[in-house]
């Protein structure tokens, strides 16, 4: 019994932490609370149902499992697929050449390279010229504020001749720039402008790097996780309407 009582409490605190960490980014405090309460209600039920099997299994491993769950809420949960090494002639060739600089993985049936920042220009050039990935489908970024290298930059590439789609991923720090891919794929012109607009990542050698969706005078980069919607809104209302925001 003490085990059972002990193990349910640890999961909820991290669950509650998450919404509060995200709160500055939520549009309205009123809206976020119901969803938060729904989360906590519903998360307690799965943990209650999932905990009985744990004690049912050998009693001794259950004890070390509980503190581990308290430290990292994510690891015990995903029963889903995990990225596995990706193996193909293409990968073998690059792996031989670049060793640990690239990490080929496959996840949910989709292949991608995790590439060291310094190898990016070379790898992209090779993929386009030698491997015929002639169509850059998309270029985007993901922000992880807690990481040292805050941004994942992702190229989605497709090859018409191979009918194959891959992703190239790299990590860069805030303020670090990347070489522009416009000489490789003309489509990167607007895509890089959008990444700059939303994340503030600069691309060296871009012909015309400026904001694309937001007005030129916009402050901040909205898709960064630390960008609060409310402050921006309040400030705009104060400056342009001269009143306190109702939010």
């Amino acid at each position: 019994m003490p085990d059972e009582i002990k193990s349910p409490p640890p999961p909820p605190p991290p669950e509650n932490e998450k919404p509060t960490a995200d709160k500055p980014a939520t549009p309205g405090g009123v809206k976020s609370t119901p969803s938060g309460s729904v989360q906590s209600q519903t998360t307690t039920t799965p943990t209650e149902t999932s905990t009985p099997p744990k004690p049912a299994a050998p009693a001794t491993p259950a004890k070390p499992a509980a503190p581990a769950a308290a430290g990292h809420p994510a690891p015990p949960k995903p029963a889903g697929p995990v990225p596995t090494p990706w193996d193909s002639p293409l990968v073998a060739k690059y792996k031989r050449e670049y060793g640990s600089g690239i990490n080929p993985l496959t996840h949910l049936g989709q292949n991608y390279f995790e590439v060291d920042r310094s190898l990016i220009p070379e790898i992209l050039q090779l993929l386009r010229d030698d491997e015929k990935f002639d169509y850059c489908v998309d270029l985007t970024a993901v922000h992880y504020p807690k990481r040292e290298r805050q941004f994942d930059v992702v190229w989605v590439l497709y090859s018409f001749s191979r009918n194959e789609r891959i992703r190239v991923k790299t990590q860069i720090a805030d303020g670090e720039s990347l070489p522009s891919s416009v000489p490789l794929w003309a489509t990167c012109n607007w895509l890089e402008r959008e990444v700059y607009d939303m994340f503030g990542i600069k691309f060296d050698g871009h012909p015309d790097l400026k904001r694309i969706l937001l007005p030129d005078g916009w402050k901040g980069f909205p898709l960064r996780k630390d960008y609060g919607i409310l402050q921006q809104d309040n400030e705009w209302v104060q400056i342009n309407l001269g009143i306190e925001s109702g939010q």
Binding site: K18, D22, A25, T26, P27, S32, S35, V38, Q39, T42, T43, P46, A74, K77, P78, A79, G80, P81, P83, H107, L108, Q110, D134, Y135, C136, V137, D138, T140, V142, H143, V154, V156, F160, N163, R165, R167, V182, P183, W185, A186, T187, N189, W190, L191, M198, P207, D208, R211, I212, L213, L214, P215, P222, L223, K225, Y227, I229
Partner: protein, 383 residues
């Protein structure tokens, strides 16, 4: 043809001295312009009637869809995707639902797949009809607009009967469908197919051999297949330039591999070819619908999906062939109920980038024809 990669940005401050300054003119078109299909602003640099270059100014409809997604649960974000390409809302929903299903490793049951395909293909026809009507109107042919809107109404009626909404349908759910097909759904779809077939002939009668139409579209806004690929242009524009590529065939999703249909291609990559390609696509969509409506299996319409969706940590890129081109969703999950990041790869945004190349050395009146033939929806360009 200029290499699209070497196109220099439009220099608005220093006019090119090789042209007579008296002829050179920078004019502004939009954002409130009836022929830009929404709030698109185009800055044109002209030498007399000839376009030297142009720059698109976009973002007037930016609603921050990707930021909204990070603050909603997976289910709550579903209706938002309808508001991007609002004339092809069903396709948007299909792409999003399939992407999340892939993250969750579930698959919609066969019955749901069939109904999804029928609704998506109906939506493709509706989108092409709207394109045809407005595009022809821009160039000066008013009649097709009335014809296409009259017939598009029949599709919207089916949507309304199915889910209660005409445009922003929110027709699909993650894991399948919320609603079972209503009584008489199959009959309505079959009736529509036999109703619209002769109507498409009617549109073609009005335009295909019409001399004014030919003059305004043949050789206008030419783009080669190579340039399309470099610029990431997809959909009917790419196919009209001779590249036989359609995601429904290349990397089949839903249950498209069960159906027999052709991918039309053009040769010249001009506005006329894009018109022909879209007309054939409508007929091919009807072919898919005919096969699908005959084969709807019995069974459940929802897969087993948890009420509170928490996809395992991971990321996925899933794309579908929307009426306008490749519509992709890149979704990152951190294991919580809200997506960590949703990136939408909108076909209209990427295709619009080709406008500059397609309009260079054309007449200013053709800019309107080229904007029309690209078939953009500004709600999707700006998101």
């Amino acid at each position: 043809m200029t290499d699209p990669r070497s196109l220099s940005p439009l220099d608005l401050d220093t006019p090119d001295k090789t042209f007579l300054d008296a002829n050179e003119l920078v004019i502004n078109m939009g954002p409130q312009h009836p022929a830009t299909h929404g709030v698109l602003r185009v800055i044109l640099r002209l030498d007399g009637e000839k376009v030297l270059g142009l720059e698109c100014v976009i973002g007037y409809l930016h609603r921050g869809v990707e930021k909204i997604a990070e603050n909603r649960t997976y289910t709550m974000f579903n209706p938002y995707v309808d508001r991007m390409d609002y004339v092809a809302a069903v396709s948007n929903g299909l792409g999003y639902c399939e992407a999340v299903e892939r993250l969750l490793s579930v698959e919609a049951p066969p019955r749901a797949q069939y109904i999804r395909v029928i609704l998506t293909e109906l939506n493709r026809i509706a989108s092409h009809q709207l394109w045809l009507g407005t595009h022809a109107l821009d160039i000066g042919a008013i009649t097709p607009l009335f014809y296409t809107f009259r017939d598009r109404e029949e599709i919207l009626k089916i949507f309304e009967k199915y889910c209660g909404a005409r445009l922003t349908t929110h027709a699909f759910r993650i894991g399948g469908l919320q609603y079972e097909a209503y009584d008489g759904f199959e009959r309505d779809v079959k009736n529509f197919v036999s109703f619209v077939k002769p109507k498409i002939d009617e549109y073609e009668e009005l335009l295909t051999t019409n001399r004014i139409w030919l003059e305004r579209t043949k050789g206008v806004g030419v783009i080669s297949g190579k340039d399309c690929i470099a610029l990431g242009v997809t959909g009917p524009v790419l196919r009209a330039s001779g590249v036989k590529w359609d995601i429904r065939k290349a990397q089949p999703y839903a249950n498209y591999k069960n159906f027999d249909f052709e991918i039309p291609t053009g040769e010249n990559g001009d506005t006329y070819d894009r018109y022909i390609v879209r007309m054939i696509e409508m007929r091919q969509s009807l072919r898919i619908i005919e096969q699908a409506v005959e084969g709807i299996p019995e069974g459940p319409i929802m897969a087993k999906v948890p009420k509170v969706m928490k996809p395992p940590v991971g990321e996925v890129y899933h794309s579908i062939e929307a009426p306008k081109g490749e519509l992709g969703y890149f979704i990152v999950s951190d294991g919580s109920t809200q997506p960590y990041r949703v990136r939408v790869r909108p076909p209209s945004f990427v295709n619009l980038q080709a406008l500059d190349l397609m309009c260079r050395d054309q007449l200013v009146a053709d800019v309107i024809a080229v904007i029309g033939t690209l078939d953009i929806v500004l709600g999707e360009v700006d998101r």
